[in-house]
Every structure is written in C-alpha cells, then in structure tokens.
C-alpha cells in the first residue's frame, strides 16, 4: 500500500492557497473546508510551504491584532518535508509520527499532486489491516 493508493481513495481535491494570499484568507479556507492545513503554492504551482492551524495559533500572540493582514508567506512553514506517490504507508506514517507533523504534500517532478494527513494514513492502515484479517479469517475457515 502506498501514497498513490491513499490519494486515489480520498480523491485528488487538494486544497491550496496562493503565496500572495493573506492569513485571513487562509483562516477562512481552513474553516470552510474544516481542515487543519493548506498547501501554499507559488506562481509555478510548486509547494512553497504549508500553513497549519498550529502555525496560526503560535503566531496569534506575537502579531497581536495584525496577524490577519499578514501574507501567508510570513507565517507558513517553508520547504515542508514532502513525499512521493510510490512511498509506502508505513514510511509516511513513521515519518509523520517521529517528526510530529500531521500533513505532507505529495510531489512529483517538482509539482504538487496532492496532500495526505495523518488521518488519511491511519485510516488506510486500519483498512489494510482489517482486509488482511478478513483474508486470514477466510483462510482459517476454509
């Protein structure tokens, strides 16, 4: 089971925001879609960064009332760790857990092709495990 399979299951509806957008736009987007992070893309469609709930909450104090009018590029996490379609579910789950992030852009030839969350990864892992258990159950019963 690999990242390509996860993208296939969840659909390729990657939520992105332009690097020139404001933090207030990003907050609205996260709220509308009920998601925890959005990939920030430059004018060539490359993943320039990722902006998460955590990035926003962490900056709320230091920017006081000015946070909403900042550019997303000011507070995003630059050059995020990315993964590829052929990476396995185990590899990305291990990576996300040990490095404490919840979202990873999926990149192919420098272009963004999707984003996966720890939720997507765990859901897939559970589904695979249950499928294998069902197969084993069938084998034992036969």
């Amino acid at each position: 089971m690999n990242v390509a399979k996860i993208l296939e299951t969840k659909g390729n509806n990657t939520v992105t925001i332009a690097i020139t957008a404001l933090v207030s736009d990003a907050i609205e987007l996260l709220n509308d879609k009920n998601i925890g992070a959005v990939v920030v893309v430059d004018d060539k469609g490359r993943a320039a960064g990722i902006l998460s709930e955590r990035d926003i909450v962490r900056r709320l104090r230091s920017f006081a009332g000015q946070l909403m009018s900042q550019s997303v590029s000011t507070i995003m996490t630059r050059d995020p760790v990315t993964c590829h379609r052929e990476d396995t579910v185990d590899e990305v789950m291990e990576m996300m857990t040990s490095r404490h992030f919840r979202h990873m852009p999926v990149v192919e030839d420098g272009q963004l092709v999707g984003v996966i969350s720890i939720g997507d990864v765990v859901k897939t892992k559970i589904a695979v495990t249950e499928h294998e258990a069902a197969a084993l159950r069938e084998y034992i019963a036969s």
């Binding site: 709220n31 926003i56 709320l60 495990t129 258990a133 159950r137 034992i140």
Partner: protein, 152 residues
C-alpha cells in the same frame, strides 16, 4: 496496550485551564507547551470541555481577533468524548477517526487522569507493531476454533 501505558510513557502531567480564563491565556499555554489542545475545567475542577487549535482557528474565522478576550467557555468544545485508562488503543483510534477528533481526555469518576492525542496513540501502535498483529486476526482464530476446528 492500553491508555494507562501511554500515560505512563508520556508522563502524568495534564495542562488545564479554567473555563472562565480568557482565550488569550489558552493560546499562550498551547504555544508555550507546544500542545494541540488543552482540557478546560469548571469551578468544581471537573472536565467542562476541550479547547483545540481547530476551535481557535474556527472562532478566529467567525469572530476575528476579538475572541481572544472572550472566556474559554465561549469557544471550547463542551462535554467532549472521553476515555478511561483501560481503553484499547486500536478501538480509540477508530473512534477518533470516526468523530474526526484528535484528543481525548482520560476521565474516571469525574477525575481527570490525562490527555491523549491521535499522535500518542499512533506512536504507541508503531512502537509496538500492533498493526502487524491486529486484534481482529486473533478474534478470527478464536472464531475458527469455536466453529469446530480441530484442537490442533
């Protein structure tokens, strides 16, 4: 593997905030401790709610920066789902996925024992390789036995 083991590994310290405290104070705590959520206590020190990064961002979207001066109780998730120390990790992961939540206060008889996150649970599963020896498989083997399999 149970929730008690995970609390044992990550330490028993639970960061809480009173329901009457301003949101700004909660934001400060989350930032300083690098936590994704904090348990909210009422005046009797029982769990009134949970305040997550998601609650804060959604409230920012709806009310703007003024919400920082409001009490935590105005934007928290009240009466959150909780678990107990003998809860099964795999079952709770599935419950959290189903409800789309990432944190569970550990509560027994109105006493708060800790807070576990999806990250804590997934980490314990990876560390112990529990995904590779899933409970359903063992259940399947028992079923096969009781369904008239040989004693071997």
């Amino acid at each position: 593997m149970s929730i008690a083991n995970i609390l044992g590994t990550k330490g028993q310290e639970v960061v809480t905030i009173p329901a009457s405290a301003p949101v700004a104070e909660a934001v400060e705590l989350l930032a300083n401790r690098n936590y994704g959520a904090i348990v909210v206590l009422d005046t009797e020190d029982t769990v009134a709610g949970i305040l997550s990064e998601r609650d804060i961002v959604q409230s920012l979207a709806k009310r703007g920066g003024d919400m920082l001066c409001e009490p935590v109780s105005a934007i928290m998730t009240a009466d959150p789902l909780t678990c107990t120390r003998d809860g099964s990790v795999i079952d709770l992961v599935q419950m959290m996925m189903g409800w789309n939540i990432r944190h569970l206060p550990v509560v027994e008889n109105h006493t708060l024992f800790g807070l576990v996150s999806m990250g804590d649970l997934v980490k314990s599963i990876i560390d112990r390789g529990d995904f590779d020896a899933p409970i359903p498989v063992r259940a399947a083997m028992c079923d096969a036995d009781s369904a008239g399999g040989t004693s071997q």
